[in-house]
Amino acid sequence: MLYQDTVESEVLVHKPWFIAAMFAVVLAVFLMVNLTGTTFGELMRPVIGAPMQSGIYGRVAIAFVIAVMFCVNIVLIGFAPLKAQIGIVWIELLALFFSFFKAFNLSMPFIWENLPYLITQGVVTTIYVSAVSLICASLIAIIAAIAKLSSNGFAYAIANFYTSFFRGLPLLMQIYLIYLGLPQLGIVIDAVPSGILALSLCVGAYMTEIFRAGIQSIDRGQWEASRSMGFGFGLTMRRIILPQALPVIIPPMGNTFISMLKDSSLVSVLGVWELTFLARTLGQPTFHHMEMLITASLIYWIMSACLEVGQSRLERHFGRSKVR
């Protein structure tokens, strides 16, 4: 069930048919890939002899061992309490992920040498661009959402045109339009402000829809009740509507912020020295570009993880009424 109750039921991963099915699937998948030439093949050397010469027997043996390991793993995890399950699976996935990167043979000294610069120049610029855009986008979104919900045809039309236009164009085109198009009108703005403007307008359009949907999710009875009590617009919003709308608004907002953090990488086409720009260019002269790209990816991931934590805190705060 997708909600937690107190009914005790047998754990799915302990049902024999499920374990058998998982075993069959994993076995089939690993029979298809040849792992004899990898580290895992080396580990199996005592059983299958020289990995490269073991042929079909080696492949079957390796797939069998992996399938057994996988099934034992999920059965054991099934015994752990929920929190521990989540933790263990996370750590296992992370370990798999890093062993995958280890296969790239990356030059660690190069990464360590450039990491401080990636952070002091790249991350700082990325955070600066994203944070300023985030604030501007929120302001734009609040105004546009109110305009879209108002009965003023003029305001509605402007807001509707705005969201349609900026949601309908690829962000990269918007960045080019603002950087190259505005100078035709005599307004020459630098790369960083152009990027911030494009990001704010684009993300603002998405957030307008989030705010509008959040506000509209509140039953009209709430508006009617507060009006009958003599509340004005401001008081109704502050005391009645927003406290109920925020739990609806926050999850998609967190989503938008995370995707914006990564969309800020598009500003790199204008030559802004943010994380992606440096990641793309620092390793080029010495042909160490994979190192920089992977490092930058991990940095983006860490930054997004911080936002995820913030989002779940906020959700918990505003979702208090939903907890028993």
Binding site: Y176, L180, Q184, V269, L270, T281, Q284, F287
Partner: protein, 277 residues
């Protein structure tokens, strides 16, 4: 070909559509002298021409020349790093005064930019995987060839390279690729080529100097002799400012005459590329 009409052409269309992109006489020079800074467009990933050293300062052949030009004008130098598409599109709106990058003057580009001085003559070659059986460029007839978008190598692959430099020989095309794959940077093309002969690519058309750097960095590649063509690399400025153009031409001529260019080329490339080939 289609890809080439992507961002570069998109960017360029702004330049042509609303404004010819021409600066009025003396405008750029005035700005440079007024602000006491020469803003130069360079790249952080242009190989020996312009890149960042260990302390993340700009170094390279182009960078040194830009600094010397600024010194001869008696102003400070400031570097910016717009993408190549934006540089080649023209219509800079005073965001930078000079673009390095060894731009080859072509007819298309000469409509938007002026080329006051040539400071490098470089060969462009076909690069192949070291297991490849090809021994001369014509062996690549009908093969899959990778190029960087918006550069002369791409124009060569598509047989539409129109040289606009002085005393240019007409280009003779030694092969017609079966398929041209376009990349954002030559490094990604080399990455595809290193996977093996014919896995994703049969050859890459690139600056010989960059190809030699890749080979030095351990890429299993080989440069096909002879080079496909030699082309000059110029300094580019916004079209129309004659005084500024003359000043830059004089500064580069000075460096050429006193042997500075040869010396710098030997230092950064190990070959003297400063003489016409």
């Amino acid at each position: 070909m289609i890809k080439r009409l992507g961002t570069a052409a998109f960017a360029a269309s702004f330049a042509i559509a609303a404004w010819t992109g021409a600066a009025t006489a003396g405008e750029v020079l005035d700005r440079v002298q007024r602000t006491k800074t020469l803003t130069v467009a360079v790249g952080t990933d242009w190989g020996a021409g312009s890149h960042l050293d260990e302390s993340h300062e700009f170094v390279g052949y182009d960078v040194t020349i830009a600094k010397q030009i600024a010194a001869s004008l008696g102003v400070e130098v400031k570097f910016v790093t717009p993408s190549w598409d934006l540089i080649a599109a023209g219509n800079w709106d005073g965001r930078w005064d000079v673009a390095m990058g060894q731009m080859t003057p072509t007819k298309e580009r000469a409509e938007k930019l002026d080329f006051p001085a040539t400071y490098i003559w470089g060969p462009t070659s076909a690069v192949i995987h070291k297991d490849s059986k090809a021994t001369k460029p014509s062996d690549l007839e009908g093969k899959v060839v990778g190029v960087t978008s918006g550069v002369t190598g791409e124009a060569y692959a598509n047989h539409n390279l129109a040289p606009a430099w002085l005393n240019a020989d007409p280009i003779t095309y030694q092969f017609k690729p079966g398929k041209v794959k376009t990349y954002g940077t030559s490094n990604v093309a080399f990455d595809d080529l290193r996977l093996g002969d014919g896995v994703r690519l049969d050859a890459v058309i690139a600056d010989t100097s960059i190809a030699l750097d890749a080979i030095k960095a351990g890429y299993p590649l080989r440069v096909l002799e002879p080079a496909l063509f030699n082309s000059p690399g110029d300094i580019a400025i916004q079209r129309g400012d004659k005084e500024f153009s003359d000043k830059i031409a004089a500064a580069v001529k000075q460096m050429k005459d006193d042997g500075t260019l040869s010396r710098l080329s030997m230092k950064w490339y190990g070959v003297d590329y400063s003489k016409e080939q």
